[in-house]
């Protein structure tokens, strides 16, 4: 359990529509700095859409996103990374043409800036920069125990390892907030245990705020400091895992009781 500090991110009155379909309806909640916040709900509840709104990839028709105490303007995807947000994807978005270490290195892209001339010569500033960031990536690879597949093309890795590489890549960005979209999907019990351990380690060692979408209740109860429950795009409950677990509306939603 991490200390509850200031609010690092807050979404206020978010309304998101795709044509006639209402994905998110008047949802507001906040995320404390350094906590692990879970977003849960039945299928189609709007969880991924919510994550995309937090990410800045989807722009809600109404509502505001406040990050670090400031209202965040609508921005292009490539500007979002600069604000300190990294994420993983539900359907793994690794660069299939590259190896593990190369994928993790891509996370450092924003921090590298030596110009074309030095790049062509691969000398001096360019190579020093490369070495420096390479060191950091190797540390992350060590941390997530994916040393043995450093040079393997990610396309040939099993699903569980691919998810771990994606996590490594997101970590390489040194983010303030890490958004994980179903990090345990498709994993067996052992893999889930490993992944949970890594998520907790990341949160405790680096102090990274984490927001994650997850279906597995046991995982959520163990990992999360606080939980947001969505259903049909609406906010159903917001509180600690224990509070949410005993909330009648939440139980109804999961059991399929009409409401």
């Amino acid at each position: 359990m991490s200390e509850k500090n200031s609010v690092i991110m807050e979404v206020k009155n978010i309304n998101l529509r795709f044509g006639g379909v209402i994905a998110i309806q008047d949802v507001s909640f906040n995320i404390f700095e350094g906590e692990i916040r879970a977003i849960i709900g039945p299928n189609g509840a709007g969880k991924s859409s919510m994550l995309n709104v937090i990410n800045g990839f989807y722009h809600p028709q109404e509502g505001e996103v406040w990050f670090n105490g400031e209202k965040r303007p609508s921005m292009e995807p490539y500007q979002i990374a600069k604000t300190g947000i990294a994420r993983t994807f539900q359907n793994i978005a690794l660069f299939k043409g590259m190896t593990t270490i190369e994928n993790v290195m891509t996370g450092r892209q924003l921090k590298m800036n030596k110009n074309f001339f030095w790049q062509m010569l691969r000398y001096g500033p360019a190579i020093d920069e490369e070495v420096q960031h390479r060191r950091r990536c190797e540390e992350i690879i060590d941390f997530l125990e994916i040393n043995h597949i450093r040079k393997t093309p990610v396309g040939s890795l099993p699903y569980g390892l691919q998810k771990r590489v994606e996590l490594a890549r997101a970590l390489a960005m040194d983010p303030k907030i890490l958004l994980l979209d179903e990090p345990m999907a498709g994993m067996n019990v052992e893999e889930k245990q490993d992944m949970s351990r890594f998520i907790i380690d990341v949160n405790e060692e680096f102090g990274t705020t984490i927001a994650l979408i997850e279906h597995d209740m046991a995982v959520v109860m163990d990992l999360a400091d606080r939980v947001v429950v969505l259903d049909y795009g609406k906010l159903l409950a917001d509180g600690t895992p224990a509070e949410v677990q005993s909330n009648q509306a939440v139980i109804d939603a999961y059991l399929g009781v009409p409401h």
Binding site: F57, L94, F95, G97, Q109, N113, M173
Partner: protein
């Protein structure tokens, strides 16, 4: 396998990041360079006349390898398909011509490099549609560039200095007291110049690809949305790919006219050439520098050899051999696509893999 690749540990990241970290690879490259710089100039290729070897095989292969490197950077590494390669070579050739005629005392290598820069700028302009158009549809934009430029090469008479033939021609140019380009230049001199440029450009390309710019291209190629969310700006990545790639293609165009053919007209830069270069990249292997060498060699040399052997050894006439080599190329493309869609480079990797375990099958 010829040698064991494991057991060579590096204690510094810098060493691991080198172009050829394995000691044996370094030796292999050195041997190839010796063959290119010493063996071939002295002995040529056994069985073929020296003139033929230089003029019909080596020089054009080197030039087209530069073209293939350029197109591979754009298509193989950055994932942007282009059928305008022929026309962009023309941009390189015509701009080199203009620069040479406006500044007749300027060193020709400098003219070639400057024409590469001009092509880089033109390439960026015609690459702008790639910001909105993705994948296969980009063919349309590059074909538009191809056809428009073909028209411009004829219509804009300023490009060929208003001469009647409509084509461009090289005159004798000197460097360090040797005539390096033009009707009186020696094939061997041109061979060394083109070879050296090729080696240099390959080295530069390999550096850029392994660095952050090359990575940004590959990120856009593989998953452009994820790339953006990591912070890669599509505009910068795509336009830089077009620019760098066009630089290479433009240089190869200038070299083609002024270090090989001697003269050229619009037909040398037409759309069928664009397809030929595309084959070189595909057959060689997308996203592979070695593949670029292999693809250019296969697509250029085999038809030339077929025609030559058909003529001298079997006495078939030119018409028959020409058509036979076209059929052969078509069959080669289909066969390679069936056997190994990732091209010769991948075939080579798989071969090496099998040789590691030989004589065991797995």
């Amino acid at each position: 396998m010829f040698y064991r690749e494991t057991g060579q540990f590096k204690s510094k990241y810098k060493e691991e990041l080198a172009a050829f970290p394995l000691a044996e690879d370094k030796v292999g490259i050195a041997i190839l360079l010796v063959i290119a710089y010493v063996f071939i100039p002295i002995f040529g290729i056994p069985g073929l006349s020296f003139e033929f070897t230089m003029g019909a095989i080596m020089i054009p292969v080197f030039i087209f390898t530069i073209t293939t490197l350029g197109l591979n950077i754009l298509l193989g590494f950055a994932g942007q398909i282009s059928l305008g390669t022929g026309a962009f070579m023309g941009v390189g050739a015509y701009s080199c011509y203009k620069i040479m005629t406006i500044f007749p005392d300027l060193n020709i290598i400098i003219c070639v490099i400057l024409s590469g820069l001009v092509t880089a700028i033109v390439g960026m302009i015609f690459g702008l549609p790639s910001l909105k158009i993705k994948g296969f549809y980009l063919i349309v934009a590059t074909l538009a560039a191809q056809f428009f430029l073909e028209w411009a090469f004829i219509r804009v008479a300023w490009l060929y200095n208003y001469n009647d033939s409509g084509g461009i021609e090289g005159t004798n140019k000197e460097m360090f007291g040797l005539i390096v380009s033009g009707p009186q230049s020696d094939a061997l001199t041109r061979y060394f110049i083109v070879l050296t440029l090729l080696v240099l450009l390959t080295w530069l390309a390999s550096n850029v690809i392994r660095g952050r710019i090359g990575r940004s291209w590959m990120m856009i190629r593989d998953m452009d949305i994820a790339a953006e969310l990591i912070g890669v700006r599509p505009l910068t990545a795509k336009l830089s790919a077009f620019a760098f790639s066009s630089f290479y293609i433009g240089i190869s165009g200038a070299l083609m006219v002024f270090f090989w053919l001697g003269a050229a007209e619009v037909e040398s830069f037409d759309v069928s050439h664009s397809f030929t270069y595309l084959f070189m990249v595909i057959i060689g292997g997308l996203g592979s520098i070695t593949g670029s060498y292999m693809g250019a060699a296969l697509v250029w040399v085999i038809p030339v050899l077929i025609k030559e052997i058909g003529k001298t050894a079997f006495g078939f006439d030119a018409f028959v051999m020409e058509n036979f080599s076209i059929i052969f190329l078509g069959v080669a493309i289909v066969v390679i696509l069936i056997v190994e869609p990732h091209g010769l480079a991948r075939l080579w990797q798989i071969t090496k893999q099998k040789l590691r375990l030989w004589p065991f099958p797995y």
